[in-house]
């Protein structure tokens, strides 16, 4: 162990965090956070900071005791420093990145959660580096474990599953790709509400796996089942647009996919099957043809080894059926949506039909544009048209609900 620093120095260093925490509390209170998670996040930050301030006082009292050896005090001081530095950076990240997500994306996610009757979920949408879902509660609980017991208890008892969806800018700017987020929303719903996968395979206490270490078969079964479940959820909820965008992403590599996810071949084969069971034969064939050139690597474990996968998917389907949220092709809505978008008019009746035709309409418009100037115009205005359609469809739904009351 390194030579211990003088005790007074360590104590004064820790004391500084009291001011920082208080200033952060004020900053959180004064910042407008987009989305439905604002009040719960502010409550979480306020309660945690109150607990951390009490924890600091207690730890300072410990540092003054003579019966603790100096190396122990040094380790405690370093732990406090590391934990609080990481916590303050998390809050800073949230405050600065929450407003980089457009209001339309918030409304997109809200509509999906409303459809599933999960409006009360604790989540924030942040602009981030990779499309991913992470548990803020679990991350912070690890930071505070051992040395800030009150804060750990608050997380466990009052905010057990506050989660964050990180969405990269390239995806935020391209609403045709937004159905890819539904896979992450599937993870979020599973982690916070359904907990179907963990009723079959025990939940490992670590994040997504990489190829750098060998994982136990049980841990991989949990992770793989979750991936198949999220794919199933997204396709069953949103229809063919999800698998199509996923395959497009294989070629563009806009979204990072961990190498230990099930192989592309198995995922696509499963998605083709989902479309078939939904009665969408044409979409299934299209997906199969579109993905035929994808080269695949072997999975760490084969899909067949997931002995409970069918039960997991059936239970997930049960939720979607209960909420009448399974995608069904509505030719009338598809045609109206196609017609409106071709004329550059927002379509606001059915977000699922809208996003299922948006890619095809954009492609046709670009192909039919005779001049470069016209092509540029399509490129410039089509995405805002889709965003406007999502925003207006959200407003229409909200207004219709108010009207019914």
């Amino acid at each position: 162990m390194a030579t211990s620093a003088p005790n007074e120095f360590l104590i004064s260093r820790i004391r500084n965090y009291s001011h920082l925490l208080k200033a952060t509390k004020e900053e959180v209170e004064q910042t407008k956070i987009r989305g439905s998670g604002e009040s719960r996040f502010k409550k979480l930050a306020s309660k945690l900071i109150a607990d951390l301030l009490k924890g600091l006082q207690r730890n300072i009292a410990l540092m003054k005791r003579v019966d603790i050896d100096p190396d122990g005090k040094s380790a405690l001081s370093e732990g406090i420093h590391q934990s609080l530095e990481a916590f303050l950076n998390w809050v800073d990240l949230i405050l600065r990145h929450c407003n980089a997500v457009d209001i339309e994306m918030h409304q997109f996610v809200s509509q999906i959660l409303e459809d599933l009757d999960f409006k009360d979920m604790d989540y924030l949408l942040l602009s981030g580096w990779e499309l991913s879902e992470t548990s803020l509660s679990e991350s912070l609980k690890k930071l505070f474990s051992g040395i800030f017991p009150l804060a750990s208890d608050t997380l466990a008892n009052e905010f057990p599953s506050f989660c964050i969806l990180f969405i990269p800018q390239s995806l935020l700017k391209n609403p045709i790709n937004w159905p890819l987020c539904v896979h992450e929303i599937g993870h979020m719903i599973e982690n916070e509400k359904l907990k179907i996968v963990e009723s079959f395979y025990s939940r490992p206490e670590f994040g997504p796996v990489s190829t750098r270490i060998t994982y136990s078969i049980e841990a991989l079964k949990y992770r793989y089942s979750k991936e198949f479940q999220a794919d199933y959820f997204a396709t069953t909820f949103f229809g063919p647009v999800f698998p199509n965008q996923l395959v497009d992403n294989y070629f563009t590599k806009e979204v990072f996919i961990h190498p230990t996810h099930p192989s592309w071949e198995e995922r696509i084969r499963a998605l083709v099957e989902v479309l078939r069971t939904m009665g969408l034969q044409g979409a299934a064939e299209n997906l199969k043809n579109k993905s035929s050139s994808i080269s695949t690597g072997p999975s760490m474990i084969p899909k067949d080894s997931l002995e409970f996968l069918n039960q997991i998917l059936m239970q997930t389907r049960g939720l979607l059926e209960r909420e009448d949220a399974i995608y069904k092709t509505n030719e009338n809505n598809i045609n109206r949506s196609r017609e409106a978008l071709t004329k550059f008019i927002p379509y606001t009746d059915d977000m699922k039909s809208l996003l299922n035709v948006a890619g095809e309409v954009k492609k046709n418009l670009l192909e039919n544009a005779k001049s470069t100037k016209k092509k540029e115009k399509v490129e410039k205005f089509f995405d805002p048209l889709i965003k406007d359609s999502i925003r207006l469809s959200y407003l229409k739904r909200t207004y219709a609900k108010l009207d019914r009351r």
Partner: protein, 157 residues
């Protein structure tokens, strides 16, 4: 399967690894505190002791399994992930002797904590304290290169 060190990991895994190592360092520090404050009997000290017992028991069990798996240890919880990272040699092979050494020391520390719980006069206090201090330093060194990556991700652009 090749074992690799923690540098240049994807975003979500970097966050996860960093939080895991802070948790392990803080839990080891708590165990140090629980040993130093063995004669006190307040609510806080009892909680520290309970958490430390749980941590050391879980660590000893995890290490026992990792040692039994010999040259191909697998990850099943966040502790096993850290122990494997700690035992990776320069050639990215898992050093089973090191895992065995950690196991023996966690057994000793667990024994010390159990004696404290039973209000007995604990033996091997110095050994367990020295181990916990060196273990904290080893965790710190193993993840030192990922710190800038973690804060790089968290610091707003």
């Amino acid at each position: 399967m090749v074992y690799k060190k923690t540098e240049s990991l994807p975003f979500v895994e970097t966050l996860d690894d960093y939080h895991n190592q802070i948790a392990v360092r803080n839990l080891s520090t708590s165990a140090l505190m629980a040993i130093d404050l063995r004669d006190a009997d307040s609510k806080i000290e009892r909680r520290w002791l309970a958490e430390s017992l749980d941590f050391c028991q879980k660590s000893a069990d995890t290490l026992k399994r990792l040692v039994e798996e010999k040259d191909k240890p697998t990850v099943d919880n966040f502790l096993s992930k850290i122990f494997i990272d700690l035992a990776l040699s320069e050639s990215e092979q898992v050093d089973t002797n090191r895992l065995q050494m950690y196991k023996e020391n966690f057994d000793v520390t667990l024994n010390v904590l159990q004696q404290i719980q039973k209000k007995e006069k604990p033996k091997d206090i110095m050994k367990s304290k020295l181990f916990l201090k060196s273990f904290i330093e080893a965790v710190k060194a193993t993840y030192s290169k990922t710190e800038s990556q973690y804060f790089g991700y968290l610091s707003p652009k």
